[in-house]
């Protein structure tokens, strides 16, 4: 660890080596129960706590038209009771055990978690195993919860200009790929779910052979396995009928949409169709890592190109960023998003972003930039060990995508191999105009921000 204390000039080398040494810490133990349930355990003995997560291979990209958001709706209903733990009991028991608990749904997965003292892990397993197979799905509870989900959608999307823009952008960029639909579902779909839809979705996807349990924290892997056998082991597997995924049709030219909503701030989103690790031919894999580095060179910090050149430098953007991840189930987007300064238009910002891309296509990236991007990714790999939750999330994501969880360790090695030429080539190959979708938010008047105050005393305000 201290080689650079003696030889400061070997700074880069030391950086390169040290995280690889640390990566050995926190070994992952993998088990498979007879019923097909996958169990991943990562030890971290810093505090007497554990994160326990159950991941299901189902999310919004598994849904069909007219029933969008069903996975997320079911996630809400998973808290509504089983015969042995009626409505309210799950959260009551978890709270009484000090747990922080919740769930999340994405395009590619639905996951449930509890962060809990390590001596309460059995409570988590007992209740998760119960609701994996025995959910009640009561119609009255469903109808109330459907209203809650509609309120959630109003908060996240309807009343959030950035949320509307993102939703419209995805719907335009993805034509036939199910990423076209929002994870939470379209409002009309939410309002037309029936209890039978939820029962069918639950019966289709919730089974031990479609789940991965990830446990990270201060635990003994063998003891975790025994607990898992005791609670999950008795559950019967299902025949999971894989649904065919409709691939994205080939994009035949640039797409451009306008989104006009009451707002104050213009915003821009751009996205280029890009491949992901899952399902890519072996010879394409280096491209994926090159794209990850391209995103880091553009937006991997305050010294990266977008902030340096467009926020400082040209002073065209007040906010600007780029994003790409190869860790998704289906074809994805390499995205750009930004807000122009008052002195500049969305046109100016779009041209400036395209200009930054063109510069990399024409001139490539500097060795110093590439080194810096890799340095930051290596350091981040050490920093992420501070969160057991995040470590478990990585494993759960990989396993649920059907990728090897060991990728969380081999990721850095693949990143190290990427050359400046590959980053340039990836930009030339994928960030091409015909594969681009552009969405612009053009603000409409908010109406009068009128403040109506009644401060004279009156009774009846609190009843």
């Amino acid at each position: 660890m201290s080689c650079s204390r003696i030889l400061p000039r070997l700074l880069g080398l030391c950086l390169l080596q040290s995280p690889l040494v640390f990566a050995a810490a926190g070994e992952v133990h993998e088990f498979k129960l007879d019923n097909g349930l996958q169990l991943l355990v990562k030890e971290d003995h810093r505090a007497p706590i554990v994160t326990s997560q159950v991941w299901y291979k189902v999310g919004s990209s598994y849904e069909t038209e007219g029933k969008t958001g069903l996975s997320h709706m079911l996630e809400h209903l998973m808290f509504k009771g089983t015969p042995s733990h009626p409505q309210g009991e799950f959260s009551r028991i978890m709270a009484a055990n000090g747990a922080t608990e919740n769930a999340f749904t994405s395009q590619d997965y639905t996951a449930y978690f509890q962060n809990i003292a390590n001596d309460r892990l059995e409570t988590s397993f007992e209740l998760e195993a119960d609701r994996m197979r025995n959910l009640l799905l009561d119609e009255a509870e469903f109808k109330k919860e459907r209203q809650v989900v509609a309120e959630e959608r109003r908060s996240r999307t309807e009343d959030n200009p950035g949320g509307v823009l993102t939703e419209q952008f995805h719907a335009a960029a993805y034509q036939t790929n199910p990423y076209h639909n929002p994870v939470i579902g379209w409002m009309s779909d939410i309002q037309h779910y029936e209890i039978g839809d939820l029962k069918a979705w639950y019966a289709h996807w919730y089974a031990p052979n479609n789940a991965t349990v990830v446990v990270a924290g201060d635990v003994d892997p063998k003891a975790v396995l025994e607990l898992a056998k005791k609670h999950f082991g008795k559950l019967s597997p299902s025949e999971i009928k894989a649904t065919a995924v409709r691939p994205e049709v080939k994009q035949l030219g640039m797409k451009r949409i306008l989104v006009k909503v009451p707002a104050k701030q213009p915003q821009l989103m751009m996205g280029y169709k890009t491949p992901v690790l899952k399902g890519s031919a072996p010879e394409l894999l280096p491209d994926i890592y090159a794209l990850e580095l391209l995103a880091a060179v553009l937006d991997g910090g305050s010294s990266a190109r977008l902030t340096k050149n467009l926020i400082r430098g040209q002073e065209i953007a007040v906010e600007v960023g780029a994003g790409y991840t190869g860790f998704e189930r289906l074809e994805t987007l390499f995205t750009f998003a930004g807000v122009p300064t008052p002195a500049h238009s969305l046109d100016d910002l779009e041209k400036a972003i395209v200009g930054q891309i063109q510069a990399i296509k024409d001139k490539g990236v500097e060795p110093a930039e590439l080194t810096r991007a890799k340095t930051l990714l290596r350091a981040a790999k050490v920093y992420e060990r501070d969160s057991v939750f995040y470590q478990a999330m990585q494993l759960g994501t990989l396993a649920t995508l059907g990728l090897d969880w060991r990728l969380s360790d081999s990721y850095l090695k693949e990143i190290e191999k990427v050359t400046a030429e590959q980053v340039q080539a990836a930009a030339q190959k994928y960030l091409v105009e015909d594969q681009l979708t552009v969405a612009r938010l053009e603000p409409q008047p908010l109406g009068v921000n009128q403040r109506i105050t009644e401060d004279q005393p009156h009774t009846g305000a609190i009843r």
Binding site: S4, R5, C14, L15, S18, R46, A47, F79, S84, H85, E89, S91, I93, N97, G98, A99, T100, A117, D119, R120, T123, R146, V148, E151, R154, S155, E158, D159, P161, P262, K264, G301, S302, S303, A304, I311, R312, E315, V318, E319, T341, T375, A379, Y383, D386, P443, L446, G447, N449, Q450, R451, I452, T453, E454, D455, Q456, P457, H458, A461, R463
Partner: protein, 443 residues
Amino acid sequence: MKSAVKKLSVCVLVFAFSPASWAIPQIEEWETANGARVLFVAAPEIPMVDVKVVFDAGSARDGEKSGLAALTNNLLDEGAGDKSADQMAESFENLGATVGHAADRDMATLSLRSLNDPALLQPALENLALSYSQPRFEAEAFKRVQQQTLAQIEQAAQTPGSVAAHAFYRALYDKHPYASPVEGTTSSVTALTPEEIKTFHKHYYVAKNAVIAIVGALDKTQAEALANTLTKQLPIGEPASALPAPQDLTAPQTVHIQHPSTQTHVLLGQLGVSRHDPDYFPLYVGNYVLGGGGFVSRLLKQVREKRGLAYSVASYFGFQQVAGTFIASLQTRNDQTAQALEVAQGVLKDFVENGATETELKAAKQHLIGGFPMKIDSNREILEYLAMIGFYRMPLDHLQNFTKKVDAVTLEQIKTAYQKRFHLDKFITLTVGNETAVVKSEK
């Protein structure tokens, strides 16, 4: 039948749990030669270091210049000493270090996360120290960050939640420095000058007004050297003066702000208390029952679970240097506002009049005590606690005593504290949404 058995097994687990068997971080505290307060916890497991430098230079220090503290803080990564903003960013990131800065009403902070290798850590620390010790505050950077702030203010104006929060603070704090938004207003930020920034910085970014929190793979000697690196260029200065005490509301206020949203944001509230208030624990534990306790609070059960009126509904205390806020908030479809408001007000009234039940208090204690290890299970969280304990001058054994103090709270203390502190006849009722009729109908 079966559920009764489950309950029993849960109780047994709760009592079997013993937090004493695990070492709660021991905080070491000292002062640097020039008077900065340092709090340190050794965390040898991961080869990294987290640092947070906190100045008593939040927006409460803005005076007549709303947004001054935030803009000053925002300019600290825009070049210092012999380094331009670009050079500053590159020198951190070449080392694998990540930095951040933030301002709220009380605090202005800078934070650094670095690997603990001295060859990486030391230059990163020197860079960080340079950023707040010798900031350039150049006119060009000032203008740019001022524009960014104005854009941020526009964004807040299109977000009903931010509109509601700003209006609530205005109504609650009136002439008190907490009344203004941290980032300022369009007119106040437009009027700021680089000279005002320099004066503010000179006054408040001084050693005696600083608290340094350190968590990481270091020993005490290394931590002392680290603190000296961070403070040696700071003038001694003076601690910021005490803030005035906010005045309790004397009459109820009902405010509605028209916004073209599909939901109405409802905020009900009044003054809270400071971090040093003797009723801190009864109020904190009581609020878990009322609206702080996630999926098991009274507000959530009544508004969301029973009636499906909201996705998000909660209550919380904002504990500050002087009396902070108490806010109960929810968002509901515009036409349900009156109903949701009535339910929330009913829950509040019942809680203030009658307090919690024995079962609820027991459940609250089980959660807060049983959940305590999860509050300090990462370096990041411990760092936040150190900054808070140091800045608010809370007892250094706060973490050691937390579960004991929660456990000592009684039903009587909760009832007394809420009856003493809560004045429902002088509450603020604030709504932001597309429904002027809601407030009118109440009259």
